[in-house]
């Protein structure tokens, strides 16, 4: 199935065009910087390290589009990049580890987004907020580390 995808005509068109492949790389990088950055900045704000004078509920409203537009464009372009070597990617452990960590990190980000407005009203930062914000930062940093290890360990990318 993945081999068939890799040899589909439209996929081979991407794989053999440096312009198209490059375009999807640009979208992938811009999207992931926007997504990971927005999430980490929100986490740092929850921890009181950044944006100290702004309420969290206002920050999350401001950052949310950057998170999810970035995520969507990064996943979309990432899938197109994936198709060009789909047969090899599906059996590459570092790539599968990266996907798994991204799924965990997205779950953490969604929980933080849901609950952040309740933390805003609390007199002091509740313990779950600190734990979730730290966990989210660690997971997203792990996702980037896993991502750069894919070409380093497998030669793919």
């Amino acid at each position: 199935m993945w081999q068939a995808l890799q040899h589909a005509a439209w996929v081979e068109a991407i794989a053999t065009s440096r312009g198209l492949y490059g375009l999807f790389l640009v979208v992938h990088y811009c999207g992931l910087f926007s997504c990971v950055g927005a999430i980490v900045v929100l986490d740092l704000s929850i921890l009181g390290v950044a944006n100290r004078h702004q309420p969290l509920s206002a920050l999350v409203r401001q950052l949310r589009p950057w998170t999810w537009v970035g995520f969507g464009s990064s996943v979309g372009s990432g899938f197109l990049l994936f198709t060009t070597k789909a047969g090899s990617y599906v059996t590459a452990t570092p790539f599968l580890v990266k996907l798994f960590i991204v799924v965990l990190a997205v779950v953490a980000a969604l929980i933080v987004e849901r609950r952040v407005s309740t933390w805003d009203q609390a007199p002091a930062l509740p313990l779950p907020a600190t734990v979730l914000a730290l966990l989210s930062i660690v997971l997203w940093l792990a996702a980037i580390l896993a991502a750069v290890e894919v070409p380093a360990l497998t030669g793919l990318g």
């Binding site: 440096r18 492949y21 490059g22 790389l25 640009v26 990088y29 811009c30 992931l32 910087f33 926007s34 990971v36 950055g37 927005a38 999430i39 980490v40 900045v41 740092l44 704000s45 950044a50 944006n51 702004q54 920050l59 401001q62 950052l63 950057w66 940093l141 980037i144 580390l145 991502a147 750069v148 290890e149 070409p151 380093a152 990318g157």
Partner: protein, 129 residues
């Protein structure tokens, strides 16, 4: 490239850290990791217009990028995409995000920096991706 720049690049490649990152099996991807982490923070700090965090993100990205550059400086500096990114677009993006602080302009500059970097990646003659 002017001789002085090339001499500087050769020196960077021969520094202990240049040699170390080049010869290590794991340090190059770790420097890429630091570089990308810094870029993410730099980008998003600009969304909330947090100037201090913008600087922090920039310096993290710069530190990682500096070590990556030291690995094959002479090769990278002869790539037009890289030169455009390093000498024109990155200083412009820094000025824009720290001094001007206008989000729309920053996004356009950002896409320009990433595009130049990808052009560099796809046309790079060096051994490292």
């Amino acid at each position: 490239m002017p001789d002085l720049v090339l001499a500087g690049c050769r020196w960077l490649e021969s520094t202990p850290w240049g040699v170390m990152v080049r010869e290590s099996a794991w340090m190059y991807p770790v420097m890429k990791w630091i570089h990308f982490t810094g870029l993410s923070v730099w980008f998003a700090a600009n969304v909330t217009l947090d100037r201090r965090l913008t600087w922090i993100g920039f310096f993290i990205a710069f530190a990682g990028g500096f070590f990556l550059f030291s690995v094959e400086a002479t090769t990278y500096v002869s790539n037009p995409g890289f030169v455009l990114k390093l000498a024109v677009l990155t200083p412009l993006a820094l000025w824009w995000t720290v001094i001007v602080q206008n989000r729309a302009g920053a996004v356009i500059l950002w896409i320009a920096v990433v595009t130049a970097s990808v052009v560099f990646l796809l046309t790079n003659a060096g051994t490292y991706p």
